[in-house]
């Protein structure tokens, strides 16, 4: 466990910014039972975010970071997109590699960490947009599943290339109009959760981030299964309120609508994954 790295030299403490001191004193380290219920009390691992006001991706970040069972030994790999500006605010080791190669970089990191630290648990989590995961990075994403890399991949699906100003992506539903689909997108939304199952993921979940508790559960399950069995995949609906023309306070409402249809909660697990999940439940960790 590397909690030590957040300890501040006593002589320097008075010069440290308050948020760094809080990380040592008030963050939840070394406790796998941490979760979204700590949010009002504990120091969060994300300091600020640079997303639009009310962007559901900011909620997703907060819930995920609050739910990591082992943050002191977790590395996060991201990709290019709205979320990439958030990563420097996260108090963990994060990498911005390039647009679309996040699962390849994560594969290299995970394998080397296993080789360098055979006696430690080091979790590697990928967080990337739908464009990064499903379009430009699909090859790297699926290949990491084929290779059974022990990493958790989380896709922030806002059904659009948001950061570049609103172009249709593979995750955009048919008919929806964006700037490179004049007149509406002509093809169906890619069922990435299904591709993940077919490509060898051992735990797959699809949901919106309307329910913090649900996000916590799937994140923990996915990480525990990835640790022991193989790749896991979480597909989160994080609507781009800017591009679909909603106000800052309408993200939750939008997600609740989609919870009833194309983002209806869906969960899949292999027998090996089930065994891990049942065991973790018995241990009180889920």
């Amino acid at each position: 466990m590397s909690v030590k790295i957040f300890k501040i030299n006593e002589d320097l403490k008075e010069f440290m910014p308050q948020e760094i001191v809080d990380l040592e004193e008030k963050a939840t380290w070394g406790n796998p039972k941490r979760g979204v219920m700590d949010l009002p009390y504990a120091k969060e691992l994300i300091e600020e975010h640079s997303l639009c006001a009310g962007c559901p991706e900011s909620a997703a970040f907060r819930y995920i970071l609050a739910s990591l069972p082992n943050p002191e030994d977790t590395v996060i790999v991201n990709s290019t997109g709205c979320t990439s500006l958030v990563f420097p605010h996260i108090a963990l080791h994060t990498v911005h590699p390039l647009f679309g190669n996040q699962n390849s970089v994560a594969s290299g990191i995970k394998r080397v960490l296993e080789w360098r630290f055979p006696d430690k648990v080091k979790d590697v989590v990928v967080i990337a947009g739908d464009g990064a995961t499903i379009d430009i990075g699909l090859d790297c994403t699926l290949q990491s599943f084929f290779r059974q890399e022990k990493i958790t991949t989380i896709c922030f699906d806002n059904e659009v290339y948001a950061n570049t100003g609103g172009q249709d992506s593979g995750a955009t539903p048919r008919g929806m109009e964006f700037k490179m689909a004049p007149g509406g997108k002509q093809w169906d939304k890619v069922p990435m959760w299904q591709l993940a199952i077919d490509s060898g993921c051992h735990y797959v979940a699809r949901l919106s981030v309307s329910s913090p508790k649900k996000v916590e559960q799937v994140v923990k399950k996915a990480i525990y299964v990835a640790r022991e069995v193989g790749p896991t995949y979480i597909h989160l609906y994080t609507p781009c309120i800017l591009e679909i023309g909603l106000n800052a306070d309408q993200g939750l409402w939008e997600m609740r609508q989609r919870d009833k249809e194309r983002f209806k909660f869906f969960e899949y697990m292999t027998d090996e994954a089930k065994e891990v999940i049942e065991r973790k439940k018995k241990e009180g960790l889920l």
Partner: protein, 404 residues
Amino acid sequence: MPEQVKTEKVRYNRMGQRIVSPDYLLFEAPRTKHFITGSEAVKEAAKRASVDASISYPITPQSEAAHMLGELWREGYIGVYFRGESEFGVMSEVAGCAMAGARTITTTSGPGTLRAMELFPMWAGSRLPIQLVLMARGINSPLSIQPDNLEIYFLLDTGCMVWHAETAQELFDMIIAGFVVAEQPDVHVPVITAIDGFFISHTREAAYLPPEDIALPPYDPYKAPMPPIDMEMPPGRFMRDPFVMKSNYISYATHASWQFEVRAAIERSRPYAKHYLRGLVEHFGDPEGEVLFIASGTAAAQAKEATQILIHEEGIKARVLRIKTIRPFPTEEVREAVKGAKYIFIPEFNVIGWLEREVKRALYGYTDIPIFGTPRVGGGMTMPPEFIVQEVLRIIGKEVKHVG
């Protein structure tokens, strides 16, 4: 016995090889004669370099070297190895390996290099001391696998060091030196060790190798200027205000200075490269030579042959300045070497003449000596020494006496 063994406790790497200093491994250890290909030179070097990780993808002519790195993994010399999904994937995977603190090597050629292109500046900007052994081959037009080193040109300004070996022997030594130089804390950028594919990768030559039970000291990621991504030290990239990705003056200045810093790191590699490569250049032939070839890689080997013919059969004083490092470019060495020359010839195995551009840039305003970017062959054509001699004689207006 290496000095450090007398004074310090003997250390072994994970494979049980005795750890020796880079100087001992490169210069002092007894060597025995072997008859190896360039691909085997990669294996022999990696075997003695305490390599942690390697990822491969097939493409001629580098595949064989990559196979052998896989064999080293099976034997336990390398910690992590697999075949990636494409060169873009592989160069991303090795980036991940290096970020996580591994000494990392990979190989590629021609179209593979271009497929992976987006990664090389990323490696450099992330200060990853990855070693890429580049076995140059033609770039698709529309399909070519022939020997041709045009691709090296595309790599010159990626922020990576680029070295060019002439022989399998030199490739062996350069790979070992490459790790040592690239991992210096004040350098810490990737190194691309290039050879001309087929000519070096697939031909056998005598090479002198140190014993296989000694190896370089393992890589220490905690000496790196950027913290490894392993959650074992404070997350250095945690910053409250991520100015690096904002559109404002500070962000622009940061990006500009970081690009300069990456180039400055290559500059700082000079003294190390000079030491471990025994100079950034090699001089060959008659020191008074008025015909001066400036060349690298296989073209330099051919120029040396041509120099012998010029001296011994044509009675013309000739010499070769062989460039070992294209990045950093040995500007001072080139300026010094041209003194006394009457003609400069730059033979190359590519149609654009990237070395000619480099040399002309280094010499602009320093000399009036005419510079001829010739002969230049590409697409797999050979460059026989006699052909070089003919070109020289034709240009300097001398009668062709012996070759024809």
